[in-house]
């Protein structure tokens, strides 16, 4: 059964934009969605994954290996040291049974009680006990490669696990060294975390490592609520028919993402805007340099998505809140919320 289509989702504009930008540039560093329950965060991510073209990989591969390297090896081109191929794919190449298939973009849910073993991968119990073999069993990170990793209630996850996840998300590689094994495999995914601030906060060191953050609210406008429930109801009654009627807008968004991905390298930022970005971050007292770097990167992705080759001031104005909101040092006893502080600072610096 299909997932509810992305273009038919009502509202949640901030979250939608953050996810789209991450789809254009997965290296942005992930999205943190803080706010109320039941606001359709999981559905939104699944719907983006459904929108994107399927990935090409090798039949039976647990690591979502890219087929190019396999094909080169098979056609006698020797081994490409830079590309990764898992053991089972290598085996298939030598057996001559490589089969290329299409797989939908993976969206992996990280369950709340997940152990390190399940996430990173561990010694294959079955192989060890039954055959006495030392083999690595890939974890959730391998399955999320080239897709999305969604963590619900990220503020309840154990700190050391979040640490590892953020490390992998930043480097794009999972390095596992335990139980006598040393394994390294690619793990490039968009990390999306969600949580309810009423249940506890993330440490600032961890917050800072997420790329963008958005606030997600339950819609209060009656008309919006009616439309949301109405569309969901229509979808439930006839999923295929509903999907068909939204085919065109889905296609437009997909094309924009793909075009954006291609154009990303060519987008430039004018010097004056670079200066203003820096001034903004200084005015806000954001810790570290990640704020500026993320803002620049996200602005580029936004321009690419729109089909432009230059970043404009409006891009900055629109994206600054999500790039900086979670990096501001919290002043105890200061009730001003982060979004307001950013708006004030932007006016001071002349961005908005």
């Amino acid at each position: 059964m299909p997932t509810f289509p992305f273009s038919a989702i009502v509202g949640q504009d901030a979250l939608k934009e953050a996810i789209l930008l991450s789809a254009v540039d997965p290296g942005l560093g992930g999205v943190l969605a803080f706010g109320d329950r039941g606001t359709g965060k999981t559905s939104l991510i699944r719907s983006v994954a459904q929108l994107l073209p399927p990935i090409q990989t090798i039949e039976g591969c647990a690591y979502n290996c890219k087929p190019q390297a396999a094909l080169e090896m098979r056609d006698g081109g020797g081994e490409n040291a830079a590309a990764f191929l898992c053991d089972s794919c290598r085996q298939k190449i030598s057996d001559g049974t490589v089969e290329i298939i299409n797989r939908p973009v993976p969206v992996i849910d990280l369950p709340l009680g997940a152990t390190e073993d399940r996430v990173l991968g561990a010694l294959d119990l079955e192989a060890a006990l039954v055959r006495g073999e030392k083999r690595f069993e890939p974890g959730l990170l391998a399955r999320a490669h080239r897709g999305f990793l969604y963590i619900d209630e990220v503020n309840l996850l154990e700190d050391h696990l979040i640490d590892v996840l953020l490390d992998v998300a930043a480097s794009g590689e999972n390095l596992v060294e335990r139980e006598g094994m040393s394994i390294r495999h690619p793990a490039r995914f968009v990390l999306v975390g969600s949580g309810n601030p009423e249940e506890g906060e993330l440490r600032p060191q961890l917050l800072d490592r997420f790329g963008l953050s958005v606030e997600v609210r339950t819609p209060t406008e009656i008309d919006e609520r009616i439309e949301i429930v109405r569309r969901r109801d229509r979808f439930d009654q006839d999923p295929d028919g509903f999907m068909a009627s939204w085919q065109a807008p889905e296609g437009e968004i997909r094309d924009a993402i793909l075009a954006g991905q291609a154009k990303l390298r060519d987008v430039t930022i004018p010097d004056e805007i670079m200066t203003q970005i820096a001034q903004l971050c200084i005015t806000l007292g954001a810790d570290g340099l990640r704020g500026e770097l993320t803002l620049m990167r996200a602005a580029r992705a936004a321009a690419a998505f729109d089909g432009r080759d230059q970043v404009s001031l409006t891009d900055i104005g629109r994206i600054a809140p999500s790039a900086l909101r979670h990096r501001l040092r919290k002043q105890p006893l200061d009730e001003t919320d982060a979004t307001t502080r950013i708006a004030r600072a932007m006016t001071e610096v002349g961005i908005a």
Binding site: D109, P111, L112, L156, E201, T218, E221, V229
Partner: protein
């Protein structure tokens, strides 16, 4: 309510002298409501399930039987015990069986077995957030989902079942206190197969769509999932009566069924005058503002619906004297600082033990294989099997970890008298510092305030700055000083959280001059005695306590109380947030102060 073990089977319950007509009518009503829920759920599994407030007994069994008989015969009907481990839940390698057979033996997870059928979860009020999250995720997976019967066996001060689950289940049912003789099932004329037959879905007229949305807003329901469930329920009712369109009555019945126990059966405040200009601010979630800004031509329709629902809402309380337990968010706990405690599941790895791996203990494969390795040749010769790895139970090794225990700091603040506002401000300041400091970020904080007759838990244990600010905004102060009650309540809260495995610290901000006794009378001498008595009680709990004396000139009263409770005493006339927080933070971390 009848005491004793035996429930009368066929006869009327023995007459109880004080039983008024309300409980009997209410009991009959609740049972009828429960049966109706069973019928609708059997007809349409997309309604999610029920939240069944019922302790074990014949009435609960009767309901489950009534529901099951309306389902097709071979549907999976799985019970999930309260504390199953993840392997049993999600499936995986059955370790013991694999060893025995020499081949991999996997178990199918309970959740997979339940797919397409019904899952019964007992003791849902004790479900951990992790478990609830796994279930909720599975419920959203439309290809593998199941109907959930969440059984809530809690007492009045136990938390309610997790909201992430109750939000996905249509019908709250309360069977508490219903005599067994009332729990009869007249049966339906339709067979389960008839019930499951799908018909073309009834239409939902536009004006009713709007009316449903507005009515829900006026009834204070903001969850979109519940909105969708009400819609589905109304549709199921119309389909059952073979009508082609949903009617106003269907909506009213659906709302009464779905919102029982989730909304207050109190009359709502009157909507604002039509000539008040509605504020343009989008962030208001008050229902009055929505009402004014939404131009509905059918206000009469909505009024009828809301009134009918509120007057027809079933009272979900067995005993009218007890406080109803509303569906509220269960207490969420997790965290990392505090005493290091040996654990079998989480935390930093500190070693290996030779023990059998039951009950969620994690196997240390390497150590196990290392232990078994030297014996392989001998064991192989014994049985003659070549390939298999021979592992005996004595070789098994499990991992041991060191987990950090959670800490809770309870602030007990004197908000009586004229300095109330200032003291509350100081306490708020200290709490804010504790919650924002990133090193002690994992402490939970609670606040008890005392003034007037008795002390009150103003802020239940929380780690969240947002929640603290919301809860403590606008707390009134002034009046007499019930110190004894405050100490007593702090001790009770502390003991309860200690039983849950947390390290508790209690901090008192007071001048020690209690003047209200435990009974609520204004006898100064008695009040002091009561306070000292409670203080000694607190000492026996062995929690770390602090007493910060904020009298301008200490009279020794506070010091006496501190001595009685074994608390660290300091005179701090101006208890600014940061220094207090620092002191406490250091003490909790085990450093000397």
């Amino acid at each position: 309510m009848s005491q004793g073990a035996a429930y009368p089977a066929a006869s009327m319950p023995a007459a109880e002298p004080e039983l008024s007509s309300f409980p009997i009518e209410n009991a009959i009503e609740r049972w009828a409501h429960a049966l109706e829920a069973a019928r609708l759920l059997a007809r349409n599994p997309d309604l999610g399930g029920v939240i069944l407030r019922a302790r074990p007994g014949p009435v609960r069994d009767a309901w489950i039987k009534a529901y099951r008989e309306r389902l097709p015969a071979r549907l999976p009907f799985i019970t999930l015990p309260a504390h199953t481990d993840t392997t049993r839940l999600l499936g995986g390698l059955d370790f013991a069986a694999t060893l025995a057979a020499g081949n991999p033996v996997t178990t199918t997870g309970l959740l997979d077995s339940a797919a397409g059928g019904v899952l019964i979860c007992s003791m849902a009020e004790r479900m951990t957030p992790a478990r609830a999250a796994i279930l909720a995720a599975r419920l959203d997976d439309t290809n593998n989902t199941f109907v959930t019967v969440l059984i809530d066996e809690g007492e009045a001060d136990d938390p309610a079942p997790p909201e992430c689950l109750t939000d996905r289940l249509a019908f709250p049912i309360d069977l508490e206190g219903i005599p067994a003789a009332f729990a009869t099932d007249p049966g339906d004329n339709e067979t389960p197969e008839d019930l499951a037959m799908s018909m073309p879905a009834p239409d939902f007229p536009d004006d009713l769509e709007d009316a449903l949305a507005v009515s829900l807003a006026r009834l204070g329901v903001s969850s979109l999932r519940l909105h969708l469930l009400c819609l589905r329920c109304a549709r199921t009712i119309a389909a059952r009566d073979a009508r082609s369109a949903i009617s106003e009555d269907d909506i009213i019945t659906a709302l009464r069924l779905v919102l029982a126990g989730r909304t207050d059966p109190l009359p709502e405040p009157p909507p604002p005058e039509p000539d008040d200009p509605p504020p343009p601010d989008q962030n208001q979630s008050e229902t009055e503002k929505d009402d004014a800004s939404h131009s509905s031509p059918d206000e009469a329709l909505e009024d009828r619906i809301v009134e009918a629902v509120q007057s027809g809402l079933i009272d979900l309380r067995g005993d009218p004297g007890s406080t109803p337990r509303r569906m509220r968010q269960a207490n969420v706990t997790d965290g990392k600082s505090g005493l290091a405690v040996p654990s079998w599941q989480t935390g930093r790895r500190i070693g290996t033990r030779a023990k059998p791996p039951e009950g969620g203990k994690r196997i240390d494969i390497l150590a196990t294989l290392t232990a078994a390795a030297p014996w392989q040749r001998l064991r192989r010769e014994g049985t003659g099997e070549e390939k298999r790895l021979h592992i005996l139970p004595s070789d098994l090794r499990i991992k041991q970890f060191e987990a950090r225990q959670k800490t809770l700091i309870i602030f007990v603040v004197d908000i009586s008298g004229s300095a109330a506002i200032q003291r509350l401000g100081e306490a708020k300041g200290a709490v804010e510092y504790l919650l924002t400091d990133c090193y002690s970020r994992r402490d939970e904080v609670a606040l008890i305030g005392f003034r007037g007759r008795e002390a009150e838990i103003l802020l239940p244990p929380t780690r969240s700055l947002v929640r603290m600010r919301q809860t403590l905004a606008g707390v009134p102060g002034g009046g007499p000083t019930p110190l004894a009650d405050a100490i007593s309540k702090a001790a009770m809260l502390g003991a309860r959280e200690q039983r849950r495995g947390k390290t508790v610290t209690i901090v008192f901000l007071t001048d020690g001059k209690g003047n209200m006794t435990l009974e609520g009378t204004a006898d100064r001498k008695q009040a002091q005695n009561d306070a000292e008595l409670m203080a000694r009680g607190l000492k026996s709990l062995e929690v770390q306590s602090f007493l910060f004396d904020n009298a301008k000139r200490p009279t020794g009263q506070a010091q006496t109380i501190a001595g009685a409770m074994g608390a660290f005493y300091r005179h701090l006339p101006y208890a600014r947030g940061a220094p207090v927080a620092n002191l406490i933070g250091k003490a909790v971390a085990g450093q000397r102060v």
